[in-house]
Amino acid sequence: MIDAFIGMGQGFLIAMTPQNLYYCFIGCLFGTIVGVLPGIGPLAGISLLLPATFGMQPVSALIMLAGIYYGAMYGGSTTSILMNIPGEAASVVTCIDGYQMARKGRAGAALFISAWGSFIGGNLSVLGIALLAPALADFAVKFGPAEMFAIMILAMMLVGYVGSGSVLKTMCMVVLGLFLGTIGMDIMTGYLRMTYGVKELADGIGFIPVAMGLFGIGEILSSTQDTLVREVLKPKLRELLPNREELRRSWGPIGRGSILGFFIGLLPGAAHIIAGFASYALEKKLAVRPEEFGTGRIEGVAGPETANNAATGGAMIPFLSLGIPSGPATAVMMIALLIHGIKPGPLLIQENPEVFWGVIASMYIGNVVLLILNLPLVGIFVNLLRIPFRLLFPIILTICLIGVYSVNASPAELWIMLISGIVGFVLRRFQFDVAPLILALIIGPMMELAFRQSLMMSGGSFKVFVGSPISVTLISVSALLLMGSVVRPLLAARSPKTHL
């Protein structure tokens, strides 16, 4: 505990240098903008600014990218409340009561509570990282390849189990992502797998082009088929403050959302999306008059908005202390660190304490910056929504081209991005969620390495995966989740009205 506070003190010294404060501000501002604009999420935002971090200090790079990540969560609520269009997937649930509040003339109060809840949730989750991540990292130092394989299996099972939509579809995406991760040169033998003479594929399918293709181009191709009728409600500054009754009703949801969001954030997959929905469901269950949810209840805004921001903090724990990204956005941050020669994982706190504690301290500062940005400047951010989509999407496509090319200066990766975009469009039409595929693509090579190392160390015995209490526990939980995943669709299939 004392170590954590000393580390935090050092972290603040690093985060409060003028240079890092500047990058924190830029990250938060850019994150808010990408969060406000529908169609560009935190992943695309982080990927776009990734090349700009190449010349930075690693800690500055991560401070800026983390700022984009949690800034997007703040920004995403603005469009949900004022337009009924979620700027970011995590803000979908905020539309339900937030937009109804706006229609009743309480847009300002909804925006204030959303920003305030995000601030509280964000700060409490950062405190959680500071206390939990070092302990988890100490524990994870004991992990061998078998334990690492077991924890990655658990991560994949959790993605399948808690993911939105059909379990079978999610698991298909997970396995497809793992399979795509095997393309390229085999790390142990140098054998080229499914590269078909394309030398750029020898290093494997790049994560950035696939992510930008599936999320950026895929989203644009899908959006061109939708007709968005945009009605923007404009809050007045004097209406920004919530009344005493609204404040009183918000404290409980904010407190519960902080705790719930933080722990859900630890789960891999779309944790910040699930956190919002879970918090909404909890508040509805606890409400005296649950039938009023959906008509503009402040609890329906306070809980989910707090939870999705708290989840971003929770999501940093597996990434920083285990080296396992919990979602696509943290995966890009991991790539940023790897580019700078820093490997996230159990040894990060010992070997690069300035990165670990600097980033955590910067998240506190970032939350203050975001509160200042999001309340008085909400009018300016809302004006961004006046940019018509037909003007916006060519610019987003151009930025995608720049972002992907700048990583490796490879035209082959531009093709991979375009093909991934088409695949993303097709998968969306078939209602497959592409996020698990992205996550599995980055975990795949690590998982294969751990699997093969385990078998080699044990002389080919699969008992190695149940050879230690840690791996037994992890594999058992994974098996239970698998059973649950199998039973759920079977039960659903018995019902004549349900479908996958």
Binding site: L221, L391, Y405, R429, F451, L500
Partner: protein
């Protein structure tokens, strides 16, 4: 007859998995003590084959499938135009250079897809190309191909 989109989706993945099984079985498998490069991809494609097979068997037409009156794919003209324009931009990116390619790419999208009047498309496109070049190449120092402009 209405199309069962789930079945078509799982069917597509089944075909991909089948291809994965065939191509990974051609790689060295190694032994359990020392798994070869084909071991893991084969295992994964076999799992994918089973999962997608289960999906095909259990898929039922959704309410959307049953209610759909228009073609499943919707209006494909715009996505096809965007893909074609992006493909041409990718082809030209290195030989022609970033500035000219991005300007032409933007003009073509503003004109062809967004349907702006030609003069607006040209102004927006060239302004967008130059702004991108200034922000990313000049301000952020992101290396972009110069093409024949050097």
């Amino acid at each position: 007859m209405n199309m069962n989109t789930d079945r078509v989706g799982f069917g597509t993945i089944f075909v991909l998995a089948l291809y994965g099984v065939v191509s990974s079985s051609l790689m060295p498998m190694g032994r359990l003590q020392e798994p070869g490069p084909g071991f893991f991809p084969l295992a994964l494609s076999a799992i994918l084959l089973i999962l997608s097979g289960l999906g095909i068997v259990s898929a039922r037409p959704s309410a959307q499938d049953l209610a759909r009156s228009e073609p499943f794919w919707g209006d494909m003209k715009t996505p096809v135009k965007i893909v074609l324009a992006t493909g041409l931009a990718v082809l030209a990116f290195e030989p022609v250079g970033f500035l000219i390619t991005s300007s032409c790419f933007l003009v073509s999208l503003f004109l062809w897809v967004s349907r702006y009047p030609w003069w607006k498309a040209v102004v927006f496109g060239i302004a967008g190309g130059f702004s991108g070049w200034f922000c990313f190449v000049k301000l952020l120092g992101v290396p972009m191909p110069g093409g024949f402009l050097g």
